[in-house]
């Protein structure tokens, strides 16, 4: 008669598990782990080099938030004059991260010993798997925005750092304004968009993430892209425009542009130009008085007044934040910031107020969003928060706890065994 506990133990042995899942075994290879870790080092090296050229956001998008990236060997490196023309595919973060997760899970199933003696190692690897999953989830679903608040005022919306929308707001009603917004994904040149809640169709002539612009003396001197603009600020200021690639560098200032027609039935009402200011359209008045109206290009139609603007993609919140006071400190004799502080009131949906102090590395968390101190201008009396919505923000914390528990378990296990052996030897 066989011993049931031994039988059970045999069923969970490494050999039994490898027999049960033979197709997983190749994925559990240590060589694969080492190869993936080596590629990860290459990825980090290449992305670090590229960060100088295309900025953090660009490097992130090109190499980490993708399955592969194309890298060109730098000209200034040895042999660069020959090699720089050759495109080199680099495995991206999603590919390496995904494979590492598979590799670790496969190792977990077919290679690791499931025993108390090795439990620490299992917990450590579980923590690493969780870290990888958490990072990939964060990259996939985290949304970064900003909130600018003037001192003494409050704000109830956040704006994305990247991405714009055409917002058309009906301001006729004194008690509430109706907003219809068209995201940039739909603003494709040549497309005609029917917008629910807006009586006219929007036909897109041109759209781009960045441009430079110039005032001209007459319409005939404008660039081809704005030559047909006959309404709004684009026409009155005779704006000429040159499309540019989106700038991903750290100090990027992308001016998105949109040339569009409004159509009533089959009748074209005119062609407008809208340009978005990267710091918010209320900044246009500081650029030039002729451009102040970019924040609100009026359209009167059927007894209603609509305002049109191309702006950073906006999200309204059911609560608001009021800026009471700002303080900034610099290291003595330098202009390197030591501390930025924003004293705020969080005006909750329920009507209650909550006082909060937001400063470097001490954010305000509310309703799934984290408000980090990002920028500040004491002279102009405003503060800017970086607002992060990351539903998986707790995952790294759990992973780190698991790693700590695993390390502690493994260390304690060996320590206890060592002490036992020592006591036996001394006895």
């Amino acid at each position: 008669m066989s011993n049931p506990s031994k039988t059970k133990k045999r069923a969970y042995s490494v050999g039994a598990r490898q027999k049960a899942f033979p197709w997983i075994v190749p994925f559990a290879s240590v060589r694969l782990t080492l190869a993936l870790l080596s590629f990860s080092m290459i990825l980090i090296f290449v992305a670090t080099l590229e960060q100088v050229r295309i900025g953090i956001r660009g490097a992130q998008a090109e190499y980490f938030e993708s399955f592969y990236g194309i890298w060109y060997y730098p000209e200034q490196f040895w042999g660069g004059h020959l090699l720089s023309a050759v495109p080199l595919p680099i495995p991206g973060g999603y590919l390496l991260g995904g494979l590492l997760i598979i590799n670790l899970i496969a190792a977990f199933i077919t290679r690791f010993q499931w025993s108390g003696k090795k439990m620490g190692i299992q917990i450590i690897h579980l923590g690493i798997i969780l870290l990888l999953i958490g990072q990939m989830t964060t990259q996939a679903i985290q949304v970064e925005s900003r909130m600018l608040i003037n001192k003494g005022e409050s704000s109830n919306y956040i704006e994305r750092f990247h991405g714009v929308e055409l917002a058309i707001t009906d301001v006729t009603d004194a008690n509430r304004s109706k907003v219809v917004s068209i995201p940039e994904e739909l603003l494709k040149p040549g497309s005609t968009i029917r917008v629910p809640g807006f009586p006219l169709k929007v036909k897109v002539s041109a759209f781009g993430p960045n441009c430079s612009f110039d005032f001209k003396d007459s319409a005939s001197m404008r660039s081809a892209i704005t030559s047909n603009v006959n309404q709004g600020i684009g026409a009155s200021a005779n704006l000429s425009l040159t499309p540019l690639d989106e700038d991903f560098s750290n100090d990027a200032a992308n001016f998105g542009y949109l040339v569009y027609q409004l159509i009533e039935g089959s009748k074209e009402l005119g062609t407008w130009l809208a340009v978005s200011h990267p710091a918010g359209n209320d900044r246009w008045k500081m650029v030039h008085t002729k451009l102040e109206g970019m924040a609100f290009q009026p359209l009167r139609h059927a007894g209603k007044l609509w305002g049109m603007e191309l702006r950073s993609k906006r999200e309204y919140l059911p609560y608001s934040i009021e800026l009471l006071k700002i303080e900034n400190e610099f290291y003595q004799g330098t202009d390197i910031p030591h501390n930025f502080e924003s004293h705020v009131n969080l005006n909750l949906e329920s009507g209650q107020k909550r006082k909060a102090l937001v400063y470097m590395n001490t954010p305000l968390r509310h309703a799934g969003k984290t408000f980090f101190q990002y920028q500040m201008n004491k002279a102009a009396d405003y503060t800017v928060f970086q607002v992060i919505r990351n539903p998986s923000w707790l995952v790294p914390y759990v992973a780190c706890i698991l790693l700590s528990v695993g390390l502690l378990w493994q260390f304690s296990f060996h320590l206890v065994n060592f002490l036992r052996k020592q006591s036996r030897v001394s006895a």
Binding site: R176, G303, L305
Partner: protein
């Protein structure tokens, strides 16, 4: 795509209307007009209908005199105004209603129908200037237009959102005369823009000179000076008494203000005269290099201004 409602954020004035089918919108706006329209006829666009928001309460007497002088009327007084003014309710709005008909013309005389609407501290003027027959013919459309309007005062200073066209009327009788340099090229005039001149040099630089007139003080000295300063990208001044850019002087023996503001690229010189019922603005704006050359001519023009009232 999203549709949602928010608390009102827009702080400007809200002026909206339904345009009658027989009317067309004039593409170019100027001066203080928020809207400008014409009547579509077989003979082409005729008449002129406007929407003029004033930030402060402007007297109906001032407005009537502004249009009356153009139609050959003597200056109205509070008493004589009663003969041409009535109250008229259109929908839920109460208007002061003034009808002026060109003097000494019997056949289809030019007529100005002025509808003045007051709301809080704001005044909204809807002038309909056309021949009498056209006004009679379009009366229902004008009333429907007035009824359809949504008018709400803004927190910000009213300014036209795009360059506006105004009623093409002749130089008001009783207004000032002046002597302009011969090389200044006269431009179009309107009821608000009394005179325009274009000044050019051979290098492509240009200056725009204008004389404008409005009823009331149109916001007063400081707000007008700051509006002008913003046109040449100069910072606003806090008060009008100690600014080095602003000085007092006599314009045809009347107390007036002189603004001399030069920026690196653009310059504005202007004279502001606030009369008891009417304000006068003399302004030249454009490239600094040319403005410096023409400064003397501008000051000479101011010296030549005569209102013929003393």
């Amino acid at each position: 795509m999203q549709t949602y409602y928010i608390e009102p954020e827009y702080e400007g004035p809200v002026v909206a209307w339904k345009l009658p089918p027989t009317w067309g919108e004039n593409p170019e706006l100027s001066g203080p007009m928020a809207g400008s329209f014409h009547v579509k006829t077989d003979a082409g666009p005729q008449g002129r209908i406007g929407v003029m928001p004033f930030r402060e309460a402007v007297s109906t007497l001032s407005i009537t005199n502004m249009f009356g002088m153009e139609l050959g009327y003597e200056r109205f007084t509070e008493d004589s105004l009663k003969s041409v003014m009535t109250q008229k309710k259109v929908g839920d709005k109460e208007f002061e209603w003034v009808r002026l008909t060109e003097h000494n013309v019997t056949r289809d005389p030019k007529t100005a129908l002025l509808a003045v609407y007051r709301q809080q501290d704001e005044t909204w003027l809807f002038p309909f200037v056309a021949n009498a027959n056209l006004i009679n013919q379009e009366m229902d459309a004008f009333l429907a237009f007035l009824d359809s309007t949504t008018l709400r005062a803004g927190k910000k200073v009213i300014r036209a959102a795009r360059p506006v066209s105004s009623p093409p009327l002749s130089k008001p009788k009783g207004g000032p005369t002046w002597e302009a340099p011969k090389h200044w090229v006269p431009g179009k005039a309107s009821s608000v823009r009394i005179a325009s001149y274009l000044v050019k040099d051979g290098k492509g630089n240009e200056l725009d000179f204008s004389i404008t007139s409005f009823p009331g003080d149109v916001g007063g000295l400081l707000s007008n000076v700051n509006r002008w300063l913003s046109q040449v990208d100069l910072p606003k001044i806090e008060n009008s008494t100690d600014s080095p850019l602003l000085s007092s002087f006599k314009l045809d023996d009347k107390d007036a203000h002189l603004l001399l503001a030069e920026n690196k690229e653009k310059t504005i010189y202007g004279a502001l005269l606030f009369g008891p019922s009417q304000s006068w603005f003399f302004k030249i704006i454009g490239e600094t290099s040319l403005a410096k050359v023409e400064k003397e001519n501008f000051l000479n023009l101011l010296e030549s201004v005569c209102f013929h009232d003393h």
